[in-house]
Amino acid sequence: MDFRERTKLKIAISKLKNKENAMRKNNIYKIATVACCMFAFTGVAFATQSVIEKIWKEPETYNYSYELTEQDKQNAISEKDAKNKATEYLRKIGLEDEVRGLYLRKNAYKNEVVWDIGFGKGTMRINSKGEFDSLNIPSCNYTIPYDYGITREEARKIAKELLVKYNPNNNSDEYELVSLKRNNENDEDAYIWYAEFYKKYDGLFNKYENICIGWIPTINGLYSLSFENYKYENNEQLISKDDAIRIATEKDKKIETRHNIISTEAELGIDKMNTEVVYREKDIKNYEKGTINFTQGEDGKVQIKEDAVFYKVDNRVRKVWEVTIYYDYYKYDKDFPERFVYYVDATTGEIIGGSRYYGTNVQLEKLVADPHNVIEK
């Protein structure tokens, strides 16, 4: 056999071996057995690689506008339903306030439609499907007691009690406290405390399933409350670390042609699909300057560029390899090489998003290390 054919054969067997290894590791044999049975009964066979369904779709474009379209209005729940949902939720958390004004509003940047709702003490927001989003009650609604000071140990305990009280679902034990901050340098002088909880899966945090609570100590008056509820798909890891680095590096070499790669690193994390790589690939210079779709007018106001194109992707939350690529370029500091983080889907190997500087894991490390976060200090 010619050495060329022999090399290609080796590569083919190596690919097959890697697929077999991935299947062994992840008990995909079950799927293969089903496929084989179907082959026996129906004559339909599945190629090994076709078992894994791709998830990334080409991003769709949307119009950047604050104006509600007829379609937006039709897709959102009605005013009556929004009012009922809001009242129901207020009662659930022990507030007797009456719902007052309701406004359907469009967030142009996120291309999302939300209901802004006023009630006796404050305001709240629910999404177009009627799911609770956030709530704020200004502190002027409360008579702050003279002895409001509490210790951080007490704050930790109360934060967990408030989580159980305000979490609309019966799954508070699935959340973990990741941040505890206060509005003063000293524990005893703080009259507002803030706690952030993230959901945790097998040692990995999903920051897109979070509950944040702000409260007035001693009287435990609710000051702010917000939820994010993007469900983690708990997808299996079939892609190896080396393959993830290879996929990200190959992509990056096509996008970043100005600087050389000096090193790469990768770790597993949970991240949401986003359009960062799409915009970066389109125009890396403007992406880095933050001017890909916007520019500053002569009056200093931010304007949309004439050739602006806005992309949207599904809000899927997946297990990914967060592959950080470091370049031989130091824009800010000699100890801080420029970098980009790619999110390589751990099951399909597709690049489903990215981040200019940090993946979720590093963001979380920074959150814990933040001197204002007294969770472990």
Partner: protein
């Protein structure tokens, strides 16, 4: 081959390494290294195997290559020749390749994977070799393979199924 150094990404096209172009550009260079090191101590089959091993390892590590393709493939080839000579119990002057010991440690996994693959290849029929290359290297469908090889699609699938089983057995052993 020109005197200009080549970087690996120059050979990448649509996320794939253009192996044919790499082989065209570097075959004479690698043959020269092999011949200079092995002289008449290795036979033709050994030299051909080293040539194919070198390209396979280059493909395998394409994302990790930080130097030029020339430097990388020359280093890999030297290690492979040395390894082959060691297996044939032929002594070789180590001063010719001073860094080989540490480089060999880095490439240990690649060499053992290559050995595993060679083991798998032994015992494959010619038709199996064609099918596996067409399916896994060229990403052809079973329908396309059946047309090209003039055998039924069911036959192609059955053969693929058997090949996978064989690899699985090798992995388990």
């Amino acid at each position: 081959m020109s005197q200009t150094k080549h970087l690996i990404y120059e050979y990448q096209n649509n996320n794939e390494l253009d192996l044919d172009r790499i082989m065209n550009d570097f075959e004479p260079y690698i043959r020269t290294i092999i011949n200079n090191m092995a002289m008449n101590t290795l036979n033709y089959e050994d030299k051909e195997e080293i040539l194919s091993d070198a390209f396979f390892i280059l493909w395998k590590n394409q994302c990790k290559i930080q130097t030029s393709v020339e430097s990388y493939i020359a280093g890999v080839t030297r290690i492979l020749v040395k390894e082959r000579l060691r297996k044939r119990k032929i002594t070789y002057d180590l001063t010719e390749c001073e860094n080989i010991a540490s480089d060999f440690e880095i490439m240990k996994n690649d060499i053992s994977e290559n050995e595993f693959i060679v083991q798998c290849i032994n015992g494959l029929k010619e038709i199996d070799i064609k099918i596996i290359t067409m399916f896994y290297y060229y990403s052809k469908t079973t329908k396309e393979i059946s047309k090209e090889l003039k055998i039924s699609e069911i036959n192609v699938r059955t053969k693929l199924f058997r090949i996978r089983n064989k690899i699985r057995k090798e992995l388990n052993s």
